[in-house]
Amino acid sequence: MALNFAHGFRIDYYDGYREVSIVNRMAGKTDTLRYLLVDSGVAAPTNRPGIPVITTPVRQFVVQSSVHVALADFAGVADRISGLGSFQYINSPIVREGIRAGKVKETGVDSRINSELVISMHPGVLIAMTNPDAAFGQYKPLMDAGIPVMPDAEWLETTPLGRAEWVKLIGALVDREDSVAKKFDSVVRAYERLAAIGSAAKEKPTVIVNMPFKGTWYLPAGGNYQTQLLRDAGAAYPWADTKGTNSLSLTFEAVAPVALKADYWLNIGYVDSKNDILARDPRYSGFHAFQTGALYNYNKQVNDLGSNDYWESGIVNPQLILADLIRILHPGLLPQDTLHYYKPLK
């Protein structure tokens, strides 16, 4: 399968089976985790010993995070999720209905995973929320019991489309490669059309994001997918050329000269109003964006459980996030001005 944006996995085709490689890019190593996808009823290849075999199409998933729910939802197989790490942060109506009906079980996450419960459920695969480099110790009992454990490292991708492209992995697991690829292509087209509009904008307003905590301001570095979104939306983000894919930890003072004059303050954090912001720290009233009210947070789609759909469906719908950002930063550039994930702080 052709992958155009994601770098963290690969699917190769062989006679009678497919091979998934989860590439460990984080440590700059070449070692990979391999899985064989074998159609049900077909004998597993004998020349690849020691590689876990996943029987496809997978009929039952145990997943660990809301991102995995979003990936499954995109592929149209959210109803095949039988186990979920935590019930706390879920938006998908299908999965919430499953929880209500008792069809989805809470398995616990990371080291708190209830191995006995998961083993008794006989899932086709467990999608873990970890990086390929991490110790797999907590999943040992599951792997010993013959349950394939596959890490989802979509969050290590450096572009929004790269993250979203992990839907193709789920597509391969459920034998829906073509339909998922087609759906993903429409996301790509929408995103690239928007990015062309955003990056061609004449005015590039200065943007700051996040909120400092205890004097340290964590900002996405140049290679972070958040930075890519800002770039594509036609924002002037002063740290867009910094190295690294994670975040920069800067002092408040290092950011202050920009923050005081920035046109927009986005992704502010756990605040819902201007008063919230002042309650966190009255110094923010000195920011230009605070005075003009150019404050936006991505918490429009927070449900009754306090769960934010930005972190769920937003992962597979980067075009909606990008459209929001363009509407905020360049009013009038897109036909209509209704925001999907974002809302202004009053």
């Binding site: 205890k214 002092t251 003072e253 202050a256 000269p257 110094r283």
Partner: protein, 347 residues
């Protein structure tokens, strides 16, 4: 040492404090000339808005916090060393800081419920009161426990072992809480444990200032009491001092100081243990009328200096203050141990 020399040295320390304060105000990732800083501090004139914001709203609160925390932590260390008659006593060693951390964890991680967390955040400054009170109560409870056990044991080494045990019990309780909390809350809590002087602003700074001033006033008023305790409880009793009451006063002031500072700045290590020894070394006395102000001054200077080191010139990032104080403090203690070969100054 003659009292005129001591007065001279105290004066010298005061001058050093002023210099350290100015150095701290002028160090940071943004270069601002000292003349501009003085201009911003002492006049209401406009000038460069960004510079004014940085000096007035970022550097000044941080420097004031450093002075408050430096004074409070070193004085509570001094008090505890005297009360336990143990040269290694300090809030961090005897579990007082861990008790305060437990109080903070109880509020920050409050049952793992997002709703409660939102409620606390929305409370704003009442929320910071809540954290401060929880930290003081946590600190006080651990200290009372240690004290209750210490009245049964007269051995200094046993006392320290008990303190360490209390420490590990409290840390374990906090860990249980962390284990069952959300990653976001745990992250926030972990960042807090690194310690920071830059996060105390606005009403929080006033709260911290009020609590530290109350604590310090109590401490200074009872410096005679500490002198008497130093000579032994029997002597103190013969002087007509109710030892129990003295202990209650010391417990209160220490948990106020260590608790509130830990709540706002995180657990800052080594200031409490290193500074009183430095003060004794410099003034060659065990009289608290000298040691108290000396510890205050040295503690404030040391923490200001650590803050300057933490934001090494030319970098945009800042190292957590707790790392710097430990890196600076530990060698000091080792040096003292090696040089004096004996820290038991209470004979």
């Amino acid at each position: 040492m003659r009292s005129s020399i001591r007065r001279f040295r105290l004066g010298g320390l005061l001058l050093l404090l002023v210099l350290a304060f100015l150095l701290d105000l002028s160090s940071g990732p943004v270069r601002i000339p000292l003349r501009e800083i003085c201009h911003i501090l002492f006049s209401r004139g406009s000038g460069d808005q960004t510079w004014a914001f940085i000096v007035r709203s970022i550097r000044l609160p941080k420097a004031i916090t450093a002075v408050l925390a430096g004074c409070g932590l070193s004085v509570s260390g001094l008090q505890m060393q005297t009360m336990f008659r143990n040269p290694l006593a300090e809030p961090g060693v005897l579990g007082i800081t861990a008790g305060a951390s437990f109080g903070v964890a109880a509020v920050m991680l409050s049952g793992g419920g997002m709703a409660t967390l939102y409620a606390i955040r929305e409370l704003g400054s009442p929320g910071s009161w809540l954290i401060a009170i929880a930290a003081c109560i946590g600190a006080g409870l651990v200290m009372l426990l240690v004290l209750a056990l210490s009245s049964r044991l007269r051995d200094n080494v046993l006392m320290l072992v008990i303190g360490l045990m209390m420490n590990s019990i409290t840390v374990a309780l906090t860990s249980i809480w962390q284990y069952f909390s959300n990653p976001e809350e745990v992250k926030e809590y972990l960042l807090w444990t690194f310690g920071s002087l830059g996060g105390v602003t606005g009403s929080q700074l006033y709260i911290l200032m009020a609590i530290v001033c109350i604590g310090l006033t109590i401490v200074f008023l009872c410096s005679k009491l500490l002198d008497a305790l130093l000579l032994g409880e029997n002597y103190a009793r013969s002087m007509g001092l109710t030892v129990k009451r003295a202990r209650v006063i010391i417990v209160c002031s220490t948990s106020l100081l260590a608790g509130s500072i830990t709540a706002f700045c995180g657990p800052i290590g080594f200031i409490g243990i290193a500074v009183p020894h430095l003060a004794r070394l410099l003034f060659n006395t065990s009289g608290h009328r000298i040691l108290m102000p000396a510890s205050c001054l040295i503690g404030a200077i040391l923490l200001l200096a650590c803050d300057c080191i933490a934001q090494w010139p030319g970098t945009q990032t800042v190292l957590p203050i707790n790392i710097i104080t430990s890196l600076v403090g530990a060698p000091v203690v080792i040096y003292l141990l090696v040089r004096k070969k004996n820290l038991n100054i209470y004979r």
